[in-house]
């Protein structure tokens, strides 16, 4: 089924196996009235599954029933697991489902799931016209009524702000100390997100016009009152560096600080033990790094974390490395050294390391060879005859 890519477990719990949880049956329960109405289907469906046989039709009653079933199923699940139904969160639900229906499938989306119907069934627009066939919204015949109504509202706000500005100027040249809305730490909604919000398709051009209009609104001096309106269409960005886990520093018997870390790059794995001794010697698998990496390029890779933080002669390293080739071993060592150095550094330095790309594991691996081709991308020689 296109909509629910995971098997919804809520219905299974309710019916206890007497009825299969497929939604095909429910579609036959539709009344003739519903079938005769044309439902505008959201763009999300179009995008998610183009191979499906036409868009799905879910009525409001159906969705409501699904929500009820979900809630009751949640309580049943809580009882099964022996926990309090009142304080059963979505996380607990996920945990319980993973416990009751263990699955070894690789694709996470193929595993059993039980979520609120709003997350499973894509949002659809409710019926747009009344019993007499007359549409509710005045912009219905534009085709993209939510988009145009949004633009209409925004323009109204822009005009209001301009009018207010003119009024203020006419009162006297009062220095405006209204601060503009701070945009740091947030970004405009992407086109897909806006589509999801408006539950209708918009084109690139429309999206560009929308962003242009919002920028114009923000450029006006007294737009503080529209802050909430604007924030609805901006998404907060999380601070990346707060995700980094920094292990605390350990001290060995002589009081020398040391730290260990692992690194991996393209089937080469390594572990590094960095000691805050004072000599700049690094030994890899028991051998000197000069002998292990005769190529300058690999030694430069090793040098990069130290050089970046100006700590070239400070640390003493003991590394073990295996797998991969020469270059991937050097890359793995570099990552491991950067991670090991984190515990010696301050927050600002950690952030600068992250921005330099020293802490990002390189996701590139060898691409699989496909049948019918000579390699991953290379095709066989094309012969005309």
């Amino acid at each position: 089924m296109a909509a629910s890519t995971g098997r919804t477990v809520g219905s299974i719990l309710l019916k206890c196996g007497t009825r299969c949880g497929s939604l095909n049956k429910t579609s036959y329960n539709f009344t003739r009235q519903v079938l005769s109405r044309q439902l505008c289907v959201s763009s999300a469906l179009h995008r998610k599954n183009l191979a499906a046989a036409g868009p799905e039709k879910f009525s409001e009653e159906f969705i409501k029933k699904q929500v009820e079933e979900y809630n009751i199923g949640k309580r049943h699940l809580a009882n099964i697991m022996g926990e309090d139904p009142e304080t059963f969160t979505q996380q607990d639900i996920d945990r319980s489902i993973a416990y009751l229906f263990p699955s070894g499938l690789f694709d996470k989306r193929a595993r059993p799931l039980m979520k609120h119907p709003d997350e499973i069934f894509p949002k659809q627009q409710a019926v747009q016209w009344g019993a007499d066939g007359r549409p509710f919204h005045f912009l219905f015949y534009t085709g993209k009524q939510s988009y145009y109504s949004l633009m209409h509202d925004t323009v109204a706000k822009v005009l209001a702000a301009e009018k207010q500005q003119v009024l203020l100027l006419s009162e006297g040249p009062v220095p405006q100390d209204t601060k503009p809305i701070s945009l740091v730490g947030s970004r405009w909604l992407l086109k897909e997100e806006l589509e999801e919000l408006l539950v209708e398709t918009i084109s690139d051009h429309d999206y560009a016009r929308f962003i242009q209009l919002m920028e114009r609104l923000l450029s006006l001096p007294n737009c503080l009152s529209e802050k909430d309106f604007v924030q609805r269409y901006r998404k907060q960005l999380e601070i990346q560096s707060s995700k980094q886990q920094v292990a605390p520093l350990q001290y060995d018997e002589n009081g020398v600080a040391y730290s260990t870390a692992d690194g991996r790059r393209k089937t080469a794995t390594c572990t590094v033990l960095l000691r805050d001794c004072g000599s700049g010697s690094i030994s890899i698998n028991g051998r000197d790094y000069l002998h292990y990496f005769p190529v300058l390029q690999d030694r430069e890779q090793l040098m990069f974390p130290f050089h970046f933080l100006d700590m070239l002669g400070r640390f003493d390293g003991q590394c073990t490395v295996g797998g991969g080739g020469r270059s991937s071993q050097a890359g793995a060592l570099r990552l491991a050294i950067s991670r090991a150095m984190l515990s010696f550094l301050s927050e600002g330095q950690v952030e600068s390391m992250r921005q330099a790309g020293l802490l990002t594991p390189d996701p590139r691996v060898k691409e699989r060879k496909k049948p019918g081709q000579e390699g991953a991308r290379r095709k066989f020689t094309w012969k005309k005859r």
Binding site: S281, D288, H291, R299, H307, L312, G313
Partner: protein, 348 residues
């Protein structure tokens, strides 16, 4: 020019080799990269380092009425063994010794173009080209001795040619250079004569003999030379190697044998081997035993500073960061290994 008065005070400092010496003493002895450096800088400067000083002090203190002492320089690849050897040779020649310098014994056991069966000994093989080259260089190095030393024995080369007893060594060497076919035997004869005559003390017009061999581990390893029936030639079957081995045996007096191990040119040995036991093998170790090992290591802090300052002084390091920031990087990247440092600075 501090020829004989180098002592520990001068550790880490550079001294200049006079150009005339460079041509006479080292026609074939210096490492290739160093020769290029000499050409670029228009002068040859050698750093005074601990292993060379140690060797020179041993040579000064040795007793030359006893059998020849053998010294072996060993160390990691590129740490300066050949350069220390050259330094010692320079010292010896300034002291008036006769220097027998074999620049790279590995050249004699591989890539031989011509292999003749020896006329002297049927089971052995000659290498005329290498032998004649070496004789030519030997002549350049030790000009003044050639007329002084007289042969003790008569050598017959063919039915018509022979060298009489009492004729100077120079004649023998010239004959070897011109008659390429018998040059390997000439080499053998030269070595034998020198061995016999070095035993005499200085009063009776003797001389001290310094045998300097670079890459001595090739004498006991394997060769890549093949006979006509594609079977490999053992080192003993080569005349040159056979005679060299006789030189290394410490049954003669009045000189010293200084040798270096070299992994770079050696055949069939792993690149991580640098200790004498590994590179010489059982047989080689037994023949060299007893010897005085002299380890050569990477530059120390002071030596590195000195080398760096020398490059800066010669304007070899052109990068604007060379003064301060680049130094630490270079230390890290080269780990103070002399050859790696030199290669690194080549493009800075």
């Amino acid at each position: 020019m501090w020829r004989a008065c180098q002592s520990e005070r001068h550790l880490g400092q550079y001294y200049t080799l006079p150009t005339s010496h460079l041509h006479t003493i080292f026609p074939h002895g210096l490492p290739a990269r160093y020769q290029q450096q000499v050409k670029t800088f228009n002068e040859g400067c050698v750093m005074v380092r601990q292993p060379a000083l140690e060797l020179i002090s041993y040579l000064k203190a040795a007793d030359y009425s006893k059998p020849a002492v053998r010294y072996l320089l060993y160390g990691l690849k590129g740490s300066g063994k050949t350069m220390s050897l050259c330094h010692t040779i320079h010292y010896c020649s300034t002291q008036g010794w006769l220097v027998l310098h074999i620049p790279d014994a590995h050249l004699w056991v591989k890539n031989c173009k011509e292999l003749l069966p020896s006329s002297y000994h049927t089971s052995r093989f000659d290498q005329p080209i290498e032998a004649s080259n070496w004789l030519r260089n030997f002549r350049t190095t030790n000009e003044r001795f050639l007329s002084k030393i007289k042969l003790r024995q008569r050598y017959t080369w063919t039915k018509r040619e022979s060298t009489e007893k009492g004729s100077p060594l120079g004649e023998l060497v010239d004959m070897g250079v011109s008659r390429v076919k018998s040059s390997s035997d000439v080499v053998g004869a030269v070595l034998k004569e020198l061995r016999l005559q070095a035993a005499e003390t200085e009063e009776s017009e003797g001389f001290r003999l310094a045998v300097a061999i670079d890459g001595v581990n090739s004498l006991w390893g394997r060769t890549t030379i093949k006979k006509e029936d594609k079977s490999p030639v053992a080192p003993e079957e080569l005349t040159l190697i056979h005679n060299l081995r006789k030189m290394i045996d410490n049954n003669w007096c009045g000189g010293a044998v200084i040798a270096t191990l070299s992994q770079t040119g050696s055949l069939y040995s792993p690149s991580s081997a640098y200790l004498p036991k590994e590179l010489l093998g059982e047989e080689g170790f037994d023949s060299m035993d007893p010897f005085i090992p002299v380890p050569v290591s990477n530059y120390s802090e002071k030596e590195f500073e000195s080398c760096y300052l020398y490059y800066l002084d010669r304007h070899w390091l052109q990068h604007p960061h060379s003064e301060n920031e680049g130094k630490k990087e270079i230390i890290f990247l080269s780990n103070r290994n002399p050859s790696v440092l030199e290669r690194l600075c080549a493009f800075l």
